[in-house]
């Protein structure tokens, strides 16, 4: 999963030295435009919906935190169906 996130981020920016705990907002890798790109790509590739309440700073701090909330969301979806 973290590989997938890194792959999408690399389409936006040079991510050579980005680690799982690199602060994406501080580094300017994620901003208002790239976040929308990332969300759309995640939704499309993982066939999921990311609701507005998930689009908060805590969930997008680093690759680690993105993976964590995406996995939680997927598990929730499985539990419901």
């Amino acid at each position: 999963m973290s590989k997938l996130v890194l792959e999408i981020l690399s389409e936006i920016q040079d991510c050579d030295d980005v680690k799982n705990d690199t602060l994406l907002l501080e580094r300017g890798i994620l901003d208002s435009l790239s976040i929308i790109y990332l969300i759309n790509e995640l939704e499309e590739r993982l066939n999921m919906t990311i609701p507005l309440e998930d689009v908060v700073e805590d969930n997008f701090k680093s690759i680690e935190s993105i993976v964590e909330f995406v996995l939680t969301r997927i598990n929730d979806g499985l539990a419901e169906s």
Partner: protein, 512 residues
């Protein structure tokens, strides 16, 4: 009638001393505080600079940056706001174009500015605040205010340039006074309004926020850039701060409408939504209209060179069309279309295409330290043989619809609008050409992404690094694509359309 922009601030401080002038996060200042802080900064600047000298503001947007901005204005100087996140190479180009005597910044940026070869004075914004204004300073500031003519420059705004370097558009006090007076009247901006500032200050949309607030005594609510990444937080802020007026880039409005943010909450106070920068997708517009059926929505158009906007269209309640017109001229503006032969396109000549040309008091003074580009773009009106009438030819093509409203058609050259930013594709190409091992580069825009095609080259990595070092984030191509040889049109020019066609064939229909 004001004769310089200093009077905007003076009038607001006299009429509305206790109104909030600006707010940012938890900080808020009244007009009387803004004026005294601006004068404190101005009294230090006048010991270094002469009237009309350029002063760089190298700061993030904030209340402190606004003190600095008005400080420069009160000192009779002109300011240029420079984004601190720009690549070093671009900052260096701007510094050398302006050749300013001083930069106002935060102390932590000083070493970087020195390393870029800036030899003038670096003034620390924090230590400039709270400086006392002596009666001598007070007297000198009064003298300067008297001496400023409305043709003097107020600011320099840098935009992308096709020759490979950014150009600094110089705008006069008169241009801003004239435009902002009409703008605030037309959209009925008043002292009790709260203007939600989205635009970065090195972007001319922000001029409308800053000066509309100052002219009317309204509050400027400075919205941190980060909020635009998180629609929920943005909506909470708009609600909490009771923002009434949004003068935003289309892409910023779409951040809210495209993620169904209104299902979460509709900030109650919003009553004016004025947008520009690119074509508003009609689907997004309908979401906004549905959320705010009683608000005023206006599509406004204009390049930095003519000071903010020259055309506006207030969307009718019963609008059902597929594309929003850019409308009709603001008061005291002359906007007309010239066809390829340089003849006037009549209003009754519906659907005939021509280039949008603008004259009037708000046309800019040209490009800073760049006579060649100024002469090429600011010209005598070819229709007027009798006396001097300066016009700016925008390079944008438009036509009149059946109702006599102008509608945007396309660009004449290779300038594009990407996420609200104006970009000359040739500027990216000139920088790509300079990368080692690249034979030649050509950039194209598919409506969503900038793609850089290149011949030769030792590798993508190096090209990517080169572009990243020289260009701002929004100009970096989303894709670097190597080609054997560039396809050419029958006129011998690189065929951008063919490049895009070949690429979409190669990529296949899998992903749009």
């Amino acid at each position: 009638m004001e004769k310089n922009a200093i009077e905007f601030l003076e009038n607001a401080a006299a009429k509305f001393p206790n109104n909030v002038a600006c707010a940012h996060g938890k900080a808020a200042y009244t007009y009387s505080e803004l004026q005294s802080k601006a004068k404190g900064i101005a009294s230090q600047l006048i010991k270094i600079c002469s009237p009309s000298d350029p002063v760089l503001l190298f700061m993030e947007k904030s209340c402190e940056a606004l003190f600095g901005l008005w400080g420069v204005v009160c000192a009779g100087c002109c300011y240029a706001v420079v984004d601190t996140a720009l690549p070093a190479h671009r900052i260096r180009t701007i510094i050398s174009t302006l050749d300013a005597k001083c930069i106002i910044t935060k102390a932590n940026h000083a070493p970087m500015l020195r390393s870029l070869g800036f030899a003038g004075q670096i003034l620390d914004a924090d230590s400039m605040l709270g400086g006392a204004v002596s009666s001598d300073d007070e007297h000198r500031l009064e003298e300067i205010k008297e001496s400023i003519c409305d043709v003097d420059p107020l600011y320099v705004m840098f935009t992308s340039g096709s020759a490979g370097t950014p150009k600094g558009v110089v705008v006069s006090h008169r241009a801003v006074i004239d435009f902002i007076s009409h703008f605030t009247q037309l959209f009925d901006i008043q002292a009790d309004d709260v203007v939600g500032n989205q635009a970065p200050w090195d972007f001319d949309v922000s001029v409308k926020d800053i000066y509309s607030a100052a002219r009317t005594g309204a509050a400027l609510e400075i919205i941190p850039k980060k909020k635009f990444s998180f629609p929920k937080e943005l909506i909470d802020l708009l609600e909490e701060k009771k923002v009434t007026t949004l003068i935003w880039a289309v892409s910023a409005l779409c951040i809210m409408s495209s993620r169904n943010a209104f299902e979460y909450k509709k900030p109650a106070a919003i009553n004016k939504v004025i947008f520009s920068g690119e074509v508003m997708p009609i689907k997004q517009f309908r979401i906004w209209r549905e959320a705010y059926p009683d608000a005023v929505f206006a599509n406004v158009y204009g390049p930095t060179e003519i000071t903010c906007n020259c055309l506006y269209y207030i969307v009718e309640k019963n609008f059902t069309g597929e594309a929003l017109p850019i409308g009709k001229p603001f008061p005291n503006r002359r906007v007309f279309l010239l066809d390829e032969e340089g003849s006037l396109v009549e209003k009754t000549d519906a659907d005939k295409i021509g280039e949008i040309c603008v004259s009037g008091s708000s046309v800019g003074l040209g490009y800073y330290n760049n006579k060649a580009a100024t002469d090429a773009n600011f010209k005598q009106n070819p229709l007027n043989k009798r006396f001097a009438e300066r016009i700016y030819c925008t390079g944008d093509l438009a036509y009149y619809n059946q109702d006599g409203m102008m509608c945007f058609y396309s660009r004449k050259d290779f300038q594009i609008k990407h996420m609200g930013h104006r970009i000359e594709l040739e500027e990216i190409e000139r920088n790509a050409d300079a990368a080692s091992g690249i034979v030649r580069a050509c950039c194209a825009y598919d409506g969503k992404n900038i793609i850089c095609f290149y011949e030769g080259g030792t590798g993508k990595k190096e090209l990517a690094r080169e572009l990243r070092q020289k260009l701002p984030q929004y100009m970096i191509p989303a894709m670097l694509e190597q080609v054997e040889t560039m396809p050419v049109t029958k006129n011998g020019k690189i065929d951008r359309k063919k490049l895009l066609d070949n690429l979409s064939k190669k990529r296949g229909p899998s992903r749009a």
